[in-house]
């Protein structure tokens, strides 16, 4: 392979590191593989790594992706094995492939969200019926944002007496990203929310095909 796309998980301890920390960790992972990776040119050469999408701190994922390039054509088995050995448990290596789509083709993402709340399944379904507006804060202003156009599907499930589960597909591209946290914020406007666990489960194209 010359172009490598790596699929990995980000969970447990790694939930609590920032994207910048992750970037640094991946660069060190690639050095540890001993593979002939491509570096940038110039004064301060560093490994060229590109991520599909960043992930917020505290959120988990089983579908993270980064791309890098090799200087020589190395067999896939060797690339896989080196990566697998160099990646810690909390950033567990899933697989690596030749990229099929472009990184820019990532358009949506699927999430599973466990919300600790006493609200019932039907109560939550009701508040997502119709307009969903959330408070968004940017550096310069605060505004109410109607996010329905960025929610492509949403299902609510019973989970336990103190929690419900959401499964949803939201807008997720580099130019436009709806943080799943906003769905939780929307619930907390109406009901007490004690905690939540957000897990990104799939990266999808515009046509909702699996991003590979």
């Amino acid at each position: 392979m010359l172009s490598v796309r790596v699929f990995f998980e980000k969970k447990n301890g790694a939930k609590f590191i920032s994207h910048l920390d992750l970037n640094r960790a991946v660069m060190r992972i690639l050095v540890r593989t001993g593979l002939p990776v491509v570096y940038s040119q110039g004064f301060n050469p560093h490994i060229k790594v590109v991520f599909a999408l960043p992930l917020s701190i505290y959120q988990e994922s089983v579908c993270e992706v980064f791309d890098f390039k090799l200087n020589e054509d190395i067999p896939k088995e060797i690339v896989s094995e080196s990566l697998s050995k160099a990646m810690p448990d909390d950033l567990r290596f899933i697989s690596c492939e030749e990229p099929i789509y472009k990184l820019g083709d990532v358009a949506k993402a699927e999430y599973e969200i466990k919300v600790y709340t006493k609200a019932t399944k039907s109560e939550v379904e009701k508040i997502f019926d119709g307009d969903v507006t959330v408070l968004r804060k940017t550096k310069t202003r605060e505004f109410e944002d109607k996010i329905n156009d960025r929610i492509f599907s949403l299902e609510v499930f019973d989970d336990s007496s103190i929690s419900i589960k959401l499964k949803c597909i939201l807008r997720a591209s580099n130019s436009e990203y709806l943080n799943p946290q906003y769905l939780v914020n929307h619930i907390s406007k109406h009901y007490d929310v004690y905690d939540c666990e957000i897990k990104r489960t799939k990266l999808l194209t515009e046509a909702e095909e699996l991003f590979v």
């Binding site: 447990n12 301890g13 790694a14 939930k15 609590f16 590191i17 920032s18 920390d21 992750l22 640094r24 960790a25 660069m27 060190r28 992972i29 690639l30 050095v31 540890r32 001993g34 570096y39 004064f43 301060n44 050469p45 560093h46 701190i57 505290y58 160099a86 990646m87 810690p88 448990d89 909390d90 905690d195």
Partner: protein, 613 residues
């Protein structure tokens, strides 16, 4: 990762400090007959993970099949509060097990201001502070690090101290512990056996008596097993001793995100204020072949892109040229850069700078320590103004236009002229830049002058000297500020009150333990951090305990007074230190060990010494 923490990690700053799970984490399965060792560093993760000593000792212990050694760092107070609120006792990163469940807990103490953090960690772990209050079910608590060279202020809280280099000592201790525990021995029996190991000191086996004026009257063993003098342990052959090639690679940014390669131990310069230079003697080196191989493995196993060569005086390493050549054979290709710690001005040369300083680095650091030649002679720094200016000129040639200079004030026999000399010297460096042919057009020089206050430390020739009073230190700091005229010079100075506190504990005795216990009760912690240091609180604490800070920090001690650390043999003799102290007051220099041996006494410790007879 500790699941219990999951919820409260969302409420704290930098949760990555508390999760563990990093690459290279040594997570061992619990097994029958193991000895569990909780290695505690009394500061936050970012500081502790940059500490080479901890990496070496945790690694050395985990090499033993029957030892499970895990890490614990002081939680930042926001996390400490969460732990208390949720009733979760402080535990290690790897397994989350509470510290109280470990067989042995070790605390590495590198500077005196971490003492309150040690007690903070014990409190968070629900472990009684005083050794006498802990029964046989509680862990054996051992202290080490540079502060162990005067362990007395903390003596009442520890069962044991490891004085000197711990790689072999701690492993021997763990083996002894296993043997005796498996045979059903008590804690007291273990402690009495442990003191037979080199460098192990058990405070409970000694009685201290004081004179009416507060000075020490006697320090005597109260059992036969305790030796009259505790000799520090050293690693005899650095090449053969353990050095970690598989270290933990943190996720979050730490102070030192690079491979730390220990090149030598000890120092042959003999600067009179420097404790490390005395207590790490005799001077020993590692060979370039061993170092090169270690460096390769460290980079391969970590993925770092920088190697820092660690040494008290890197320019004195005899085979520096050979080592850098060997390293550069592969580091350039692998895009790994090399860095050296602050070099002596008199051995800084162009070739060295070009080889090891990356183009991106625009600054260089030197430590003249004093502004006037007379003062430099008193402290035995043995550098001339000429060599300082030459070194700076070399730096300018290498396009380095940010010069950082370290100085101290409050040195013995210091006068106002000596203080002003710091300003004069910095000005001369600025002037020499503007006159230098290497001056870069359009680029200005910046000189940073960083001045700290002398803290007289045990086992240095200055241990008998008083620290300047706080008022004097502050007055001199202002005097220097007003003497600096150029806009090219930035002046930083260290808080005199923080230095005062450090000085009290540096030369402290067991009478200070009640102040530390009271401080812990009052929630005093993180004393070396601006956010938490409160001198007025400490003044209240010392007052309440009837302790006079000046007695420890500000008193001229006579040469024949019994000192709290006199029971320790570091190799270097008291007679040598006294002779150096007298020479200091006469502005006389002592040559470095390579030029001429001055008979300090460290050679009697043996080992593969590089320049001792």
């Amino acid at each position: 990762m500790n699941e219990k923490y999951s919820l409260l990690l969302k409420n704290v700053e930098k949760p990555g400090r508390y999760t563990g799970g990093e690459f290279g984490e040594h997570k061992k399965e619990k097994k029958e007959g193991e000895v569990s060792f909780g290695f505690c560093f009394p500061d936050i993760y970012e500081i502790g993970m940059s500490n080479l000593g901890m990496k070496i000792l945790v690694g050395a212990l985990n090499e033993l099949d029957f030892v499970r050694c895990e890490r614990c760092f002081a939680p930042w107070p926001d996390m400490g509060r969460e732990l208390e609120d949720y009733g979760i006792p402080l535990g290690t990163l790897e397994s989350g097990d509470p510290l109280g469940e470990f067989d042995i807990l070790g605390f590495s103490m590198g500077y005196e201001l971490c003492y309150t953090n040690v007690l903070y960690m014990l409190k968070l772990a629900n472990i009684p502070l005083y050794a006498k209050d802990r029964d046989d079910d509680m862990p054996i608590i051992i202290g080490g690090g540079t502060c162990a060279y005067n362990p007395e202020p903390m003596a009442d809280f520890f069962d044991l101290f490891s004085i000197g280099e711990g790689e072999y000592t701690l492993c021997e201790l763990a083996s002894l512990y296993k043997k005796m525990r498996d045979n059903g021995c008590t804690k007291t029996e273990f402690i009495k056996e442990a003191v037979k190991i080199d460098g192990i000191y058990a405070p409970s086996l000694y009685d201290v008596l004081y004179n009416d004026d507060g000075t020490m009257k006697s320090f005597e063993p109260n059992v036969d097993e305790a030796p009259k003098k505790v000799r520090k342990s050293i690693v005899k052959d650095l090449d053969k001793s353990f050095f970690p090639e598989n270290t933990v690679v943190p996720y979050i940014e730490t102070v030192h995100d690079r491979v730390m390669l220990e090149v030598s131990r000890g120092c042959l310069r003999g600067c009179r204020f420097c404790q490390a230079g005395m207590v790490y003697r005799p001077y020993r080196e590692k060979t370039p072949d061993v170092l090169n191989k270690t460096a390769m493995n460290c980079i391969k196993n970590s993925g770092y892109n920088e190697i820092s060569m660690m040494s008290l005086s890197i320019s004195d390493y005899t085979e520096l040229r050979d080592l850098t050549t060997k390293l550069l054979e592969w580091t350039d290709d692998k895009k790994v850069s090399l860095s050296l710690p602050s070099m002596r001005v008199d051995s800084f040369y162009e070739e060295l700078m070009e080889k090891v300083m990356s183009v991106r680095q625009s600054g260089i650091t030197f430590a003249p320590e004093a502004g006037s030649q007379r003062m430099r002679d008193v402290i035995n720094k043995n550098v001339t103004e000429e060599s300082i200016l030459t070194a700076c000129e070399t730096a300018f040639k290498g396009k380095k236009s940010n010069i950082k200079l370290y100085f101290m004030n409050g040195l013995p026999t210091e006068t106002d002229e000596d203080i002003v000399a710091i300003a004069d010297l910095s000005q001369k460096i600025v002037d020499s830049y503007f006159q230098s042919p290497s001056r870069q057009k359009g680029k200005n020089i910046s000189v940073t002058v960083s001045v700290s206050c002398l803290v007289p430390k045990p086992f240095t020739p200055f241990q008998w000297m008083p620290q300047d009073s706080i008022d004097e230190l502050k007055r001199k700091q202002m005097l220097l500020k007003n003497s600096i005229k150029s806009k090219r010079i930035t002046y930083n100075y260290h808080d005199a009150e923080v230095s005062r506190l450090e000085a009290v504990f540096a030369k402290g005795d067991r009478k200070l333990s009640k102040a530390l216990a009271l401080a812990c009760e009052k929630g005093v912690k993180f004393d070396s951090w601006d956010e938490y240091f409160s001198f007025s609180e400490w003044e209240e604490i010392f007052n309440e305990c009837g302790i006079d800070m000046d007695f420890y920090a500000n008193r001229t001690i006579s040469f024949d007074e019994l000192l709290p650390w006199d029971f320790i043999d570091i190799g270097v003799t008291k007679q040598f230190l006294i002779s150096e102290a007298k020479k200091a007051l006469n502005c006389e220099c002592t040559p470095d060990c390579r030029t001429k041996c001055s008979g300090c006494g460290a050679n009697k410790l043996g080992g593969e010494r590089k320049c001792c007879p």
